[in-house]
Symmetry: C2
Subunit: 412 residues, 2 copies
C-alpha cells in the first residue's frame, strides 16, 4: 500500500518543527492531529477516507485536523498515488507527512560492515552509506563511526540534525526488550552489550533496536509482501536462516528476545555442531551456506547465491538439486512451525527467495508433506499461504528505519 | 486466585434472572454493572478493590454498581476467601456472582465416552456425569444423549433450565473458529462436523467449542497453575501429546485451529507412521503410550500411568528409565517450541505430570540442552519457567465450562 523510494535530490528546505518530534517521540497524545500524524508516519501515504477508517475518528474531525496540519505545512498532498486509491473515476487525493518535517536513521550491524540509511517521515530514503568494519569490531568503535557517518550524511544532504527523530539499530542476534544482545556465540563481540548504553550517549538520540530478522519483518510489513497483513511468519533463507513472527501487527519477541529463531530449531540432536552451541540446527540444512560450498567444489571456483540461481534458471542439474534440497528442509521446518502457531501467511525472505518458483514449488510440496493440516483437507480460506518476500537485500536496514517510524522497540 | 470446588448441596432456590443472560451472553454492554459481572464470571471470587483495579473503573463507580448488584441479589459475599486477600488484619470481604443467578454446562467428547459437568456462575461444580459411548460414536447420537443427560442433571438438582447460560464443548481434535472439527484421522467420526450445527438445534443453547488442549489451558488459566499469567504454553503428556498457547490471556488458535498441535511436530520424517498421517510425530516419542506397552510387556500384565508413577517413586529402574526417556523427548520438543515463540512459562499437563520432579528434572535438563537461549546465559527474569499443571484429570471438562464463563470460542 505504501511505498519506499530512493531519491537523490538534495534537501535544501528543511523545516525544523520541534512539535513533530514532540508528537511522534517524546509525548504522543491522543489528539486527532497526533493520531493522524502517527498514522501517516506508519503507513506513508493515505487518503483522507483511509485515515478516517484507520483512526476511527469522525469524518468531520479528520477533515478539520487535516486542514490545520496542511496549513502548518506538516502534511502535504503526495505525488505518489496510494495503491488502494486506484479505481474508476478521479483518484482520491493522497496525503503524506511533509518530507521536510523530520528524518530518521537506520543502522544495520553486519558481520564485517555497518550500513546506515537516512529516510524522511514520508518514507523516502534520502541517502545510504556502507562502512567497512572488519570482523569482530567493537561496540564503542561502531558507535563513534556511526556518529561520524550520520553527521556526514546530514551535512552532504543539507539536512538539519534537529530534524532527526531517532535511530533504529538492526542486530544480527536476539535482542531483549531492554536492548541487550543475547547469545554470545552468534555475534561474539556484541554479546551482553546494551545497544542503548552504547549508541545513546554517543548519538544523543532516541534509540530503537531489534533483531535483524524482526527488522526484515517490519520492512515487509511496511513496504513489502505483508502490507495489510496483521499476522504472518517471515522465514529467511540466506547464508543463515532467520525468522520473525508478527501477530496483530506487532512482533512477537518472546521473554528473552528468542521468538522466531527458526534457524536454531534443532532437527537432529546428534547432528553437526552449530555456531550457536547446539547440534543439528535447521540453519545447517535450510540455509544456502553448505550448498554454496558443494557447488563451488564442483565448479572449482567460489560461486555466489545469485550465480547459483542463474545456473538453476538455465537448467543446471546440480544447482537445481541444491535448491530443491534446501527447499525440502525449509518446508520441513515450516511444517513444524505451523504445528506450533499455524499462521495464515508465510513469507520466504533472504537472498535465496530471489529463486522464486524454483525454490517455492519444492518448498510448498515439502511443507504440505510435513505439516499436520493438509491444504486439500480444508477450505481455501483456512489454508496457510506461502509467498516470497519483496525485500531481500536491504530489508534489515529498511526495517531499522521502520522501527523509528512505527515507534517500535524503543529502548527506554 | 479463584477456586473451583465440587459441591453436592441441592439447588432449591434458583433465581431466574433473564438479565444475567442478557448481560453475559446475548448483548454484553459497557455499563459498570456489566463489566463487574463479566469480571466476576471470569475470575470467580474478587474483593471490591480487585474489581476496581481490573475494570479500571473509579472506586466510587464500582461501589455504587456493587450496591445495586447486591440489592438485586446478583452479587453476594463469598464464604471462600480469595487467595490474594490473605494477609495481616481483617480479610477484605470477597464477592462472587450469586450461584443461583445462572449455570453452565461443559461437555468433553472423549474417545469412547462423553463427560458432562454443570457449574454455577460462582465457579462451583454442581454435578458431573459420564456417558459411555463406545468407539466411533455418531455426532447426532452424542447431541441427543447430551440433551437427556443435561435434562436429568438439572431435574435431579432442582435447577431451572432457564438459568442455563450456554454449553461448552471440548473436542479431541483441532476445531476451526467456526466450530468445524479438522483433521479426519484423529477423531474419525467427527471429521468435518460443525459442532454448532450438531449441538445447537438439539440443546437450544449458545454453543462454545474448542480443542481439548485449549480447554485444558483455559482450566489452568482460570483455576490452575496459570492463574494471573497472561502468556504461557501448555504441554500435555498423557497417552497422546497435546498443547495450547495462551498470549495476552487469549488462546492462539491459528488460521485453521492448528496452533499448539505439539504432538504432531514431526521430529523424524523417516520415523513410524502416526495416526495423523505424518511420520515420526513427537507424540510417538513424548507420550506415555509406548512406555506403557514396554513396561506391560516386562511385568506381563497391563499397567496404568498411575502404577508406573508409583513404581518409579519406589525406585523401579525400568519405570524411571521410561519416564526419563519420555522427558528427554518432551524437553527436546519444548526446546524447539521455545525457538519458535520463547514463552515465559511452560506448564506440563496430562496424567504424566503427576510424576512431578521425577518427570520435571530430566525434562528441564533436556530442554536446556536443546533450546537456543540457555538459562545460565541470561538474567533470571528472562528465563522460561517450567512447572507442572494443577489440573491433569478433568482439565478439558473444566475448561469447557470455562469457555462459557469467559465467553470464549463462542460459535456464531
Amino acid at each position: 500500500m505504501t511505498y519506499l523510494s530512493y531519491q537523490s535530490t538534495s534537501f535544501a528546505l528543511i523545516m525544523n518543527k520541534p512539535s513533530l518530534r514532540n508528537w511522534l517521540i517524546d509525548k504522543p497524545s491522543a489528539s486527532p492531529e497526533s493520531l493522524i500524524v502517527r498514522c501517516l508516519r506508519e503507513r506513508g501515504v493515505l487518503s483522507a477516507s483511509q485515515i478516517t477508517r484507520i483512526t476511527g475518528l469522525a469524518r468531520s474531525t479528520v477533515s478539520t485536523a487535516l486542514n490545520g496540519l496542511r496549513k502548518s505545512g506538516m502534511v502535504i498532498e503526495s505525488s505518489a498515488h496510494h495503491d488502494g486509491a486506484r479505481g474508476i473515476g478521479r483518484p482520491a487525493a493522497t496525503l503524506t507527512l511533509n518530507p521536510a518535517a523530520g528524518t530518521c536513521v537506520g543502522i544495520h550491524l553486519g558481520l564485517d560492515e555497518m550500513r546506515c540509511v537516512v529516510a524522511d517521515v514520508s518514507h523516502s530514503v534520502i541517502t545510504e552509506q556502507t562502512i567497512p568494519m572488519g570482523l569482530d569490531y567493537q561496540p564503542q568503535q561502531a558507535a563513534q563511526l556511526a556518529r561520524s557517518a550520520i553527521a556526514q550524511c546530514y551535512e552532504e544532504n543539507g539536512l538539519p540534525m534537529a530534524g532527526l527523530l531517532g535511530v533504529g539499530v538492526s542486530v544480527s542476534g536476539p535482542v531483549s526488550r531492554e536492548g541487550v544482545v543475547q547469545r554470545a556465540s552468534i555475534v561474539p563481540t556484541w554479546a551482553g552489550v546494551n545497544i542503548r548504553d552504547v549508541f545513546g550517549p554517543v548519538l544523543e538520540q532516541p534509540i530503537f533496536a531489534d533483531n535483524e530478522s524482526n527488522c526484515s519483518a517490519i520492512a515487509e510489513l511496511m513496504w513489502g509482501a505483508a502490507v495489510g497483513q496483521d499476522d504472518f511468519v517471515l522465514f529467511k533463507i540466506d547464508l543463515g536462516v532467520g525468522g520473525a513472527i508478527v501477530q496483530h501487527g506487532r512482533l512477537v519477541t518472546g521473554i528473552a528476545g528468542g521468538a522466531g529463531e527458526f534457524g536454531h530449531i534443532s532437527i537432529d540432536p546428534g547432528g553437526d555442531l552449530c555456531r550457536c552451541g547446539n547440534r543439528g540446527c535447521l540453519e545447517l540444512y535450510a540455509s544456502f551456506a553448505r550448498p554454496l560450498e558443494q557447488i563451488s567444489r564442483i565448479v572449482r571456483r567460489p560461486v555466489t547465491m545469485d550465480e547459483v540461481i542463474m545456473m538453476a534458471e538455465q537448467g543446471d542439474v546440480g544447482a537445481l538439486r541444491m535448491i530443491e534440497d534446501t527447499a525440502e528442509f525449509a518446508g520441513r521446518g515450516l511444517g513444524l512451525i505451523s504445528s506450533v502457531i499455524n499462521p495464515p501467511l508465510i513469507i520466504i525472505g533472504g537472498r535465496m527467495a530471489l529463486a522464486g518458483d524454483i525454490l517455492l514449488a519444492p518448498l510448498i510440496a515439502s511443507y504440505e508433506r510435513h505439516t499436520l493440516i493438509k491444504s486439500r483437507d480444508i477450505a481455501p480460506a483456512l489454508r496457510t499461504r506461502i509467498i516470497v518476500g519483496k525485500h531481500t537485500e536491504n530489508d534489515a536496514l529498511l526495517g531499522a528505519v521502520g522501527l523509528v517510524l512505527r515507534h517500535n522497540s524503543r529502548l527506554q
